[in-house]
């Protein structure tokens, strides 16, 4: 049995930032476990720029952004194991790890930080009718083939879903010499960042078909084409609008799902809406001493926010390892009301917050010129004017602890429409 103060599961942006911050807060005995063959996680395949505007005030590519953390991680001499998989985590924080090099390892940790990231939804999960030929890839898999391994998935492409990876891959495939006929989006708006719609689609004249979906897949061995149709307000395909697009490749960017299989086995309570753990202000899950951050907690739009959240988590885990649990104070529940799809964290223990707390949230639709209303019980503590809110963009709100302590047992966030 190996003993560690903190074991971090995942060496992507979340795991790296959390481990670095835990070390800076005095924890010596940390282990980061990474299942891939290098640190950096999914950033390694995101060779486009646009990362780091908030954290570093400059535009970096994914690998550059990762490199800054990997360099610091090595400077701090934090222990890590690559090509190593966590098979199991129990509630008492013992873990089973496996790798070719070390075999089967039993590890006991005082605290665990879950930073496993997310996976992509598949064609099967959205159950598109048709055949099952080669040539259907999730956008992220195609991105790995093209950017990391130098292979081309196909030459005539249709993309389903306008999440950020889908948008980025539309541009990448054009640059690589493919033709991208369309990006098809079921919703009346894109799930991606506005800047990606402009830079990846509009600049390359790739049509974005909103309110459209793919209703059939054709091709026995390799994909031959897809049938696209417009949908009505109840998301049913309109027969008269059906159109066949010849293509040899279909990329899917239809949502990301936090990878919480280990968390479920550890008995951690999950939020149905985010797909991630239910956490408190310290990013601690329902199992004491197990923390979660990054895309395994909730899917982020920008890696900068992952870093911010993970730093906070690393610091909390360090406190958990070294400090006596403090009693007292109140626990405030956060509640997503009108127009808000979720809030992280789910609860705030007032005693644990120093001066202010950042909450992260996403809205459930496109809103223009609205007010984000933050209340405790019925008392309004913040009114934030917003010109534009979209489900594809995460919002963060900083709230002073004074405001929370003086209020009730619930902190609610809602959208006040037409409120100027």
């Amino acid at each position: 049995m190996y003993n560690y103060d903190i074991v971090v599961v995942g060496g992507g942006p979340a795991g790296l930032a959390a481990a670095i911050e835990a070390r800076k807060n005095g924890v010596r005995n940390i282990l980061v476990v990474e299942r891939d063959r290098e640190l950096g996680g999914i950033l390694n395949q995101c060779i486009h720029n646009g990362f780091g505007l908030h954290i570093f005030k400059e535009e970096l590519t994914g690998p550059e952004y990762a490199e800054r953390f990997i360099d610091e991680f090595h400077r701090l001499e934090i222990e890590y194991k690559l090509d190593t998989m966590v098979l199991n985590i129990t509630e008492d924080k013992t873990m089973k790890l496996v790798s070719s090099e070390y075999g089967l390892m039993h590890v006991k940790a005082k605290a665990i930080i879950l930073a496993m990231g997310c996976r992509e939804r598949t064609r099967g999960a959205i159950n598109i009718p048709g055949t099952r030929p080669a040539g259907i890839f999730s956008a992220g898999t195609a991105q790995r083939f093209v950017n990391m391994e130098g292979y081309m998935p196909g030459k005539k492409v249709v993309i389903l879903g306008s999440g950020d990876i889908g948008l980025i891959m539309a541009r990448t495939m054009v640059w690589e010499g493919a033709k991208v006929s369309a990006v098809v989006e079921l919703m009346p708006y894109s799930g991606g960042l506005t800047r990606n719609i402009v830079q990846c689609l509009e600049d390359f004249d790739i049509p974005l078909l909103l309110n459209h979906t793919i209703i059939n897949i054709k091709g026995d061995e390799r994909l031959e084409g897809v049938t696209v149709a417009e949908v009505d307000s109840s998301k049913k395909a309109i027969k008269s609008t059906e159109k066949f697009f010849e293509c040899d490749t279909l990329l899917l960017s239809v949502g990301l799902i936090p990878e919480n299989e280990l968390s479920i086995n550890a008995g951690i309570e999950l939020d149905r809406k985010t797909g991630g753990a239910v956490v408190n202000e310290s990013m601690e899950t329902s199992v004491a001493g197990i923390f979660a951050c990054g895309n395994v907690l909730h899917v982020h739009d920008l890696v900068d926010w992952v870093t911010e959240e993970s730093r906070k988590t690393g610091k909390s885990a360090a406190k958990y390892v070294y400090e006596q649990p403090s009693e007292g104070g109140r626990t405030i529940e956060t509640i997503a009301e009108e127009g808000i799809s979720y809030i992280v964290p789910h609860e705030i223990r007032t005693k644990k917050v120093e001066d202010k707390i950042d909450i992260y949230l996403r809205v459930d639709n496109i809103y223009e010129d609205v007010i984000l209303l933050i209340k405790t019980d019925s008392k309004i503590i913040k009114r934030i004017k917003k010109k534009h809110l979209a489900p594809g963009e995460m919002e963060s709100v900083s709230i002073s602890i004074e405001d929370i302590i003086s209020g009730g047992a619930k902190l609610t966030v809602e959208i006040e429409k037409g409120g100027q």
């Binding site: 090099e101 099967g124 159950n127 009718p129 099952r132 080669a134 081309m152 998935p153 010499g177 054709k218």
Partner: protein
């Protein structure tokens, strides 16, 4: 010159090959595709039926219950996942309960053991997740679940172990009758055999018509299925069938041998023998029917949907016979449900037919055992450690959803009937069968295939000929160079 050529390496062809490999015979098993178990065998209900369904005095009735009883030994010998979890035909009203009595009587005539009609309370006790609209059920404890393609692959491996030769990518284009043997052509290539056994599934009519006058026609019928995540795998304990009514046969629901929940099939007559697509109609139909069995079913847990083709014939019974006008040519055709369940008994019938034309002699040595791929994740901690010490590749997890190691994938490629494609590896070792459906592991699996088979990435197919995964880049100016040319 071979003694016997078997056409088609699905469950029937492989089962017959293995059975005949017990005798002193030179046997060749021919398959048009690049892998065995590539037709109906890879897309069906994966059930070993009890045998109450077939009308008495049909070949189906005779072979189903008999075949069912043979699976315990077979699956132990071949290390194939099989579990007798029993089945329930669920009636929802008095009218349907009458059907249960009919099935019960029919089952008894067909020799199905231990059938029992259960009352509502007993059913709900066995299946708490079942709709409480249930009125009663027919319980058949001998029904079981199996890995159908695992079985066919295991049979093929064991047959080869016992001397059978397997020829993949050999699509029979013509057959001619010589004096006392047959010539079987694949384009220019041909081989010779004294006896031919036609197990060509949905193409059995085409093969028959090469040598005989047409006397049956395969009319394919599609069945769509849906597979759900393991988190709903334990919804039901037994195989649940809807009660057959005038409107249709109903659907079935079960937990697969790998712990996933499965529901299906639809039933639709189709024109094309290559029609393997799922449909919106099928999707809606299955959704409606599962709601009929379990009101609050979590549809969002779906992993994938697929379609299988059944080799139906008009008589609706199996055709297992030596054809009258050409001695030594045996048709094993029209093998739709319960073909998988009946397959060991079908193989016995074929042996008997052959024994009548050419007296067969048993081999002194027949190895009935076949070892399965070691599943790392199912081992104890000590066994895991030992295995990694022996072979480091078992310490490397390639498929994160199902925890499948490099060692297992390499084993699946290196076997006598080894995988050569991404789907081939998936069918043998299961990487990509989980919730991410290969999103993370398929590039790694392709890499391992290239290394083990010593071929390039572009040559790695998803499944059949033409199902290429990656394309070669075009060189647009002459200065561009690279390995992708």
């Amino acid at each position: 010159m071979f003694d016997i050529a078997i056409i088609g390496a699905g469950i029937i062809g492989t089962m017959i090959s293995r059975e005949l490999s017990k005798y002193k015979l030179d046997i060749i098993l021919l398959e048009k595709d690049n892998d065995v178990a590539n037709g109906a065998t890879k897309a069906n209900s994966a059930i070993i039926h009890a045998g109450y369904d077939a009308l008495p005095n049909t070949i189906k009735a005779k072979t189903n219950a008999e075949g069912n009883a043979m699976f315990d030994q077979l699956c132990v010998d071949l290390s194939v996942p099989f579990s007798r979890i029993g089945s329930l035909v669920v009636a929802k009203c008095e009218e349907e309960k009458k059907v249960l009595t009919e099935l019960y009587e029919r089952g008894k005539k067909n020799g199905v053991p231990n059938l029992k009609i259960l009352e509502k309370e007993e059913v709900l006790q066995m299946e708490p997740s079942l709709t409480n609209k249930v009125a009663g059920a027919l319980f058949a404890p001998s029904a079981g679940i199996i890995g159908p393609w695992e079985l066919a692959i295991a049979l093929a491996e064991n047959a080869i172990e016992n001397g059978v030769e397997l020829k993949l990518n050999y699509e029979v284009k013509n057959i001619t009758k010589e004096k006392d043997y047959y010539k079987i052509y694949c384009d220019e290539d041909y081989l010779e055999a004294k006896y031919v056994i036609n197990c060509a599934g949905i193409y059995a009519d085409k093969i028959n018509n090469m040598i005989n006058s047409p006397y049956f026609e395969i009319m394919p019928d599609t069945g769509e299925y849906q597979l759900y995540d393991k988190s709903v795998g334990k919804l039901f304990n037994s195989i649940i069938f809807q009660c057959p009514t005038d409107k249709g046969k109903g659907v079935l629901a079960l937990s697969t041998v790998h712990g996933n929940f499965m529901i299906g099939p639809t039933s639709e007559r189709v024109k094309s023998k290559e029609n393997k697509g799922t449909t919106r109609r099928g999707k809606d139909f299955l959704k409606e029917n599962i709601r009929d069995l379990c009101e609050e079913f979590p549809y969002s847990k779906i992993i994938t949907a697929f379609t299988g083709l059944r080799a139906k014939v008009i008589s609706e019974d199996f055709i297992i016979e030596e054809t009258g006008n050409s001695s030594g040519f045996i048709n094993v055709a029209g093998i739709d449900s319960p073909g998988l369940s009946a397959s060991p008994a079908i193989a016995k019938m074929v042996v008997n037919i052959l024994n009548n034309i050419a007296s067969l002699e048993k081999k002194e040595k027949f190895n009935e055992k076949r070892k399965a791929i070691t599943q790392f994740i199912t081992l104890s901690d000590d066994e895991k450690s030992e295995l990694i010490k022996k072979d480091k590749r078992y310490g490397k997890i390639i498929c994160r959803c199902e925890n499948i190691t490099e060692g297992e994938i390499v084993d699946s490629i290196k076997r006598s009937v080894g995988a050569t494609t991404v789907d081939g590896v998936k069918r043998r070792a299961r990487p990509g069968s989980g919730r991410c459906q290969g999103g993370f592991c398929s590039p790694r699996v392709m890499e391992i295939l290239t290394r083990e088979l010593n071929v390039g990435m572009y040559e790695i197919l998803k499944s059949n000929k033409g199902s290429y995964n990656l394309i070669k880049r075009k060189v647009e100016n002459e200065n561009w160079s690279g390995e992708n040319v």
